[in-house]
């Protein structure tokens, strides 16, 4: 209900956060410039030309013009309108950005968008079908497998892959093969329970 009201006013949580970010960026600009000169970094070369990049995301071909430095994670969040994949550490250590590339769970923050053209990319937004939740999403709700929820999209993408890989024969194996996804709220016991619940249901879909 709240969400619907916000939309009629042209304001939702995400656009509100975005407008806040502009203010923060303006305030932070002076400090950033100081840091750059203090480090005496050599000036960057001319900005690189953007390159055309085509990605297959959740079954749709999407076309972008991107700086070659753009990671898949930034492409999804900032250019494709798919902010479900989360940026935790941006260094390949936390797993919050986990997506599936050609069926394999992969860290989007350490993947260049340019390098995964021709691959099939599935994000948390593409996991469920026709407005129904994937059994793993439902299992996370049923088992209260999150608190703040920030790591949850990555946990769920990793959990789905963990089941498909066959690494769910016991709790120890689930824990070992989910170790690439950190949860600062430590919802781990509930995450393991959710995976135990969803695994047999996934056999049926």
């Amino acid at each position: 209900m709240t969400d619907a009201i916000d939309r009629t006013r042209g304001l939702n949580r995400r656009s509100f956060l975005a407008s806040g970010a502009v203010t923060a960026a303006t305030v932070g600009a002076a400090a950033t410039m100081t840091t750059v000169s203090a480090e005496a970094r050599p000036p960057a070369a001319a900005p690189p030309a953007r390159m055309p990049i085509t990605l297959d995301i959740n079954g749709r071909k999407r076309h972008f013009q991107l700086d070659p430095r753009t990671t898949l994670l930034d492409t999804l969040r900032d250019h494709a309108g798919l902010p479900g994949s989360k940026k935790g550490c941006d260094q390949g250590q936390c797993g919050a950005c986990t997506v599936h590339i050609d069926g394999r769970r992969t860290l989007a923050c350490l993947t260049l968008a340019a390098a995964v053209q021709n691959a099939r990319i599935v994000t948390i937004e593409g996991l469920g079908a026709d407005g129904t939740l994937h059994p793993m999403q439902q299992a996370f709700i049923d088992n209260d497998a999150f608190q703040c929820g920030y790591c949850t999209p990555g946990q769920i993408m990793s959990a789905v892959a963990c089941v498909r890989e066959g690494h769910v024969s016991n709790d120890h194996e689930i824990r070992e093969y989910m170790s690439g996804n950190l949860c600062r709220c430590a919802a781990y016991p509930n995450i393991v329970a959710a995976i135990r619940q969803a695994a047999p249901q996934m056999d049926k879909i």
Partner: protein, 337 residues
């Protein structure tokens, strides 16, 4: 991340031609190969590595560069194979368990899906002074600048193969299995293909910690060849601060060929403790013809760690490393051949 040009390689030869040039080392080369990217992009984000061109080799023909195949000489593993695929190869799991265990005990499932084994052996140290450019002194990152780790916080650092210039630990696991099993490396360079012993791939820091390998700029690792052997009785043991998804504080790759109770041949490499992949041929020779019991395993461990030099915070690695090797030897003995 600094700007770079992105080029997708059509074939290995043209990639090598493009990447070969004058540079202080393959690491200092402004043209770098992009495989899984798990080390390179991380270090570029940290501004530790600053290549101006990336040549994407990840899509080179997997039939040629990404397969595990049994050959007359043993096993050939294409350099673009993913860690996860090599770790689960049924033939390797059965005949060379040390090779697969050292892979699945490393990193996380996501990273093992991404990282290619050619890049895996070249992964760079986790020394925090190296990884954080706000520290001015790092002979590896900035030659002749000094070393902040010598008298800094050096709990994770090496005790074998160190120099007064650098004590950074080689963090990899798989390399210990490869060096123990006499692996060779197929390298494509600007002057053609050549074969290099794995033991000659990495260089101790000495006076030039910035030169980490014997590869020339533009050299491309295309495959690893593990000679055939009776190595079903082999394993990898890894001790770390947490049980999964962590680098080794100490590890041991061990393979045993037994004649009854006596050692016909032993292979021993130790990780988490040295500046490069570290095989102990002297410890192997000591065990030949002997029983693998606690006394002999402890004596072999003493030999393996001879010459270790500890610093303020890493002295624990000496007893931990020896105990890890003793345990690995005693457990390997119990495996069936």
């Amino acid at each position: 991340m600094r700007p770079f040009a992105y080029i997708r390689a059509d074939d290995a030869q043209s990639a090598v031609r493009h990447a070969s040039g004058v540079a202080p080392s393959h690491i200092g080369n402004p043209v770098q190969y992009l495989g899984g990217g798990t080390t390179l992009l991380d270090l570029m984000k940290l501004d530790v590595m600053q290549p101006t061109t990336l040549i994407d080799i990840s899509t080179l023909d997997p039939a040629r560069y990404g397969q595990v195949e049994k050959t007359a000489g043993g096993v050939r593993i294409g350099a673009l194979s993913r860690m996860a695929d090599v770790a689960s190869d049924p033939m390797l799991v059965r005949d060379y368990p040390v090779v697969t265990e050292a892979l699945w005990l490393a990193a996380s499932p996501q990273l093992r899906n991404m990282a290619r084994v050619g890049g895996n052996v070249l992964q760079r140290t986790r020394c925090n002074y190296f990884r954080d450019p706000s520290f001015a002194q790092c002979n590896k990152r900035n030659p002749s600048s000094g070393c902040s780790a010598l008298d800094g916080y050096n709990r994770s650092h090496a005790i074998l193969g160190t120099s007064e210039q650098c004590i950074a630990m080689y963090p990899g696991d798989w390399a210990q299995a490869l060096i123990a099993l006499d692996t060779t490396v197929e390298v494509l360079g600007n002057n053609g293909a050549r074969v290099v012993p794995f033991a000659a791939l990495h260089r101790q820091p000495g006076q030039t910690p910035d030169v980490e390998t014997s590869l020339a700029p533009g050299d491309l690792i295309t495959a690893f060849v593990i000679p055939g052997g009776p190595w079903r009785r082999s394993l990898y043991r890894k001790i770390r601060d947490r049980e999964s998804y962590e680098f080794a504080l100490a590890s041991a790759a061990v393979a045993l060929d037994l004649d009854g109770d006596l050692v016909r041949e032993a292979r021993i490499a130790i990780g988490g403790v040295a500046t490069v992949p570290w095989r102990s041929i002297a410890a192997e020779a000591f065990l030949r013809g002997k029983r693998v019991n606690e006394a002999n395993a402890e004596a072999a461990a003493e030999i393996a760690f001879a010459g270790a030099q500890t610093r303020a915070h890493n002295a624990y690695k000496l007893p931990l490393g020896k105990a890890t090797l003793v345990r690995a030897l005693l457990e390997a003995k119990e495996l069936s051949a």
